[in-house]
Subunit: 446 residues, 2 copies
């Protein structure tokens, strides 16, 4: 649900004009795939890769070639983690029904999960995808506030349902937004621009009669440039949160990407949720992607009073959500996350990876502004002469790394940032391997 | 996603006032559940059931009590079918990534699946839920036609995203519909009312400037009263389809419930899709629920030109859709469906079940109008004096059958129809057991 690469310009996707250059098996698969799947489907790389096996931070082709995964944030506790696999297999063999019969697994998991939330976020609703979670969050916000207006960051991405695509400017620009949506710049530097934009957005929504139902923010600000928390971002977000509440709206923290330890442990915190890094107190939190290490599981966590206001007027039942198999996968993922101390590890190894990236920025004038938090990092690729974002070079680096069996992507508004978000059990050896290959790819490019 | 029980009136849900009557374990589970899940969650029955194991058409409690499942249409090839379980376990242990790498399983499955469609329905887009499938179908229809208006049946249910709830009058009545939605009566009798309503709906949508983007129909007309195909429904639907096409709109067949053989094989047909029973030629088809026997898998099948029109302007990527584990489950389900001749079986055993229901209608003046198709059947419960729908009696029958270890539900606009939609491997012994217990429950009620 969360790929923000632009429609046009250089991209790391397969293009039909590369068909002739493919090996026969890949060409045959690409042709067969093209014949049956919607034209909207894309394949990564000019030479797409067929993976058949995964383990930890590695993916393997049919021929046994090993790739280091510095891209995939869904298999967050590692590809095909044996404990998650075993939990899925065991539960699938026993039972997989829905939430209208009692099943203790669901209750156990809900208790575990909610225990990690603060500030009265005490009520769980399971869904299947991050898009469904955000769609439901907006329905709840609108019902509970009686307002319709939504405030988002200027390059936000929150999902693909009709409603959520209409609040996601990264998909189609501000032209594609619904009339009741206003954008604010993200809290860069001291965050003053975000506060000023929020005042304007709120005033406009009120003047238009929409009122303010919610501000929704990805707490990693991933599609807005990967902003790490700082005193500046914290004070700006605190003020924006105050303005939204004063206007009768609620704050939705979209933790679909940053959640479950991706941003690493903050000192004195369990380290699972991005909003804690920013000292926010959201009213609704959406989670998903890494929640069950790849099975379609997502959720909305909310203050109970908001869900009561919604539940009194609206019926909501999601057939596939909260089923015993989904919950078994989510619970095993949760247990691995904690037993293997992955949020703490993400902070430590993420800092090392960021340090290596920063060294490379010193050594290569094509790289600039290594940044991020935990194992969610980015670095800009720029033109060496002008310092302008260089999407062409970013794509060339991604492709060169693919040849070196390293998976990353180019992302950001200009498609000129390298995005790093590996499975959390990323090791020191993985950091070395990645940094060495990136260094070599950059030298080759010079 | 598809429970149409009304918000008010008698229902077969647990109510807090029954808490004291629960056994201690059930009470403890209910209390714990209540403390963590959204108030919108419901439990079936005044005395909720905790299942821990399922097999074929049976569900089992912790104490080993066996229940006959005449309700659950998602585990359509049977609860925890060993071939589906094995496929999930095997693939989960190997790999579970996304559709931007090549994976032959996805291609194999897409080829198998599309081969069962007709009339140029040649392009697959995988999603995770029926709601997502219908939401995407509407986005595609709107983009491809340039229109906005949607026509639905008067008690339609199509899902729970913001957009789809706004075209689902069964959730909140016509007041809850978006301004660009119009309803038509279903094709009862000779279907003349549907044709007349469609003419009005189309004229209104055009006059309001919305135009006609799509007519969407559940091809079992489940929430509109379970209409089996007949010469009357066929000719009415053919005319309505013609009117929609003439207005520049498309036809969306919602096969989320009727699809994958639920309606039984029609002579000379593979029998997988409800639209074939009605001789319709839809432009878009949505499928889901039984597709992977319980894993969150759904899809949109479409004519390629529509998806091209959409794909040129809109980016769509669904993280959890089409992953190797989801596809492995879907493919194993498909294989079992065919290897065990379940669509053919659904026709045969469904006819037997319908015949037994019709006998019971003869014997019990509380029952009326046994109807349906394949293993998707309904019978009305009426007041013996007045013949009016009797929701109270329907709920009493559902509860009495629960005590007799038979699972069914009350449904329909008045909540006064018994709804039967068991897993497809429903046996002759299962038919006997169900009919015997329903007969006894009715006698007890007299």
């Amino acid at each position: 649900m969360i790929e923000n690469e632009p429609m046009i310009g250089p991209a790391t996707y397969f293009r039909p004009e590369h068909r002739a250059a493919l090996d026969p098996r890949t060409r045959a698969l690409v042709d067969r795939r093209e014949a049956v799947l919607s034209p909207g489907y894309r394949l990564f790389y000019d030479h797409p890769i067929e993976f058949v096996r995964g383990s930890g931070t590695k993916l393997y082709t049919r021929d046994g070639d090993e790739y280091l995964d510095v891209y995939n944030n869904v298999p967050s506790v590692g590809h095909s983690h044996p404990r998650v696999t075993a939990a899925i297999a065991e539960q699938a063999a026993l039972l997989n029904t829905h939430t209208r019969y009692l099943h203790e697994g669901l209750i156990d998991y809900a208790e575990l999960l909610l225990d990690s939330f603060t500030h009265g976020l005490d009520t769980l609703t399971l869904v299947c995808t991050g898009s469904e979670a955000n769609d439901l969050a907006l329905r709840v916000a609108k019902q509970a506030t009686g307002h319709r207006g939504i405030v988002v960051t200027e390059n936000a991405y929150h999902g693909v349902t009709t409603e959520i695509a209409a609040i996601s400017p990264s998909l189609g620009g501000t032209d594609s937004l619904a009339p009741w949506v206003r954008t604010v710049r993200p809290p860069v530097d001291d965050g003053a621009v975000m506060v000023a934009d929020a005042r304007t957005a709120i005033a406009e929504l009120r003047a238009a009669g929409h009122g303010v139902a919610a501000l929704i923010v990805d707490t990693a600000f991933a599609s807005d440039g990967f902003l790490a928390p700082s005193p500046g971002t914290r004070s700006a977000l605190a003020e924006v949160q105050r303005l939204v509440h004063a206007a009768g709206g609620v704050l939705i923290a979209d933790e679909v990407q940053p959640g479950f330890g991706r941003l690493g442990q903050r000192s004195g915190e369990p380290g699972l949720w991005g909003y804690r890094h920013h000292d926010l107190t959201p009213d609704l939190v959406t989670i998903g992607k890494p929640m069950a290490n790849g099975l379609p599981v997502a959720a909305l966590v909310a203050r109970r009073e908001l869900m009561s206001a919604f539940g009194e007027r609206v019926r909501y039942f999601n057939t596939f959500a909260g089923t015993p198999v989904s919950v078994a996968a989510a619970r095993a993922t949760w247990q691995v996350l904690h037993d293997e101390n992955l949020p703490e590890h993400a902070a430590t190894i993420g800092a090392e990876l960021l340090a290596r990236l920063s060294e490379l920025v010193q050594q290569h004038d094509r790289l600039r502004a290594a940044r991020g938090q935990g194992l969610y990092l980015a670095v800009d690729v720029v033109d060496r002469e002008t310092g302008a974002p260089d999407a062409q070079a970013a794509v060339a680096i991604v492709s060169a790394l693919r040849e070196r069996r390293i998976l990353i992507s180019a992302s950001g508004r200009d498609n000129a940032a390298l995005k790093l978000r590996p499975p959390l059990p990323f090791s020191r050896a993985d950091v070395d391997r990645f940094a060495t290959e990136l260094d070599a790819a950059l030298r080759d490019l010079d």
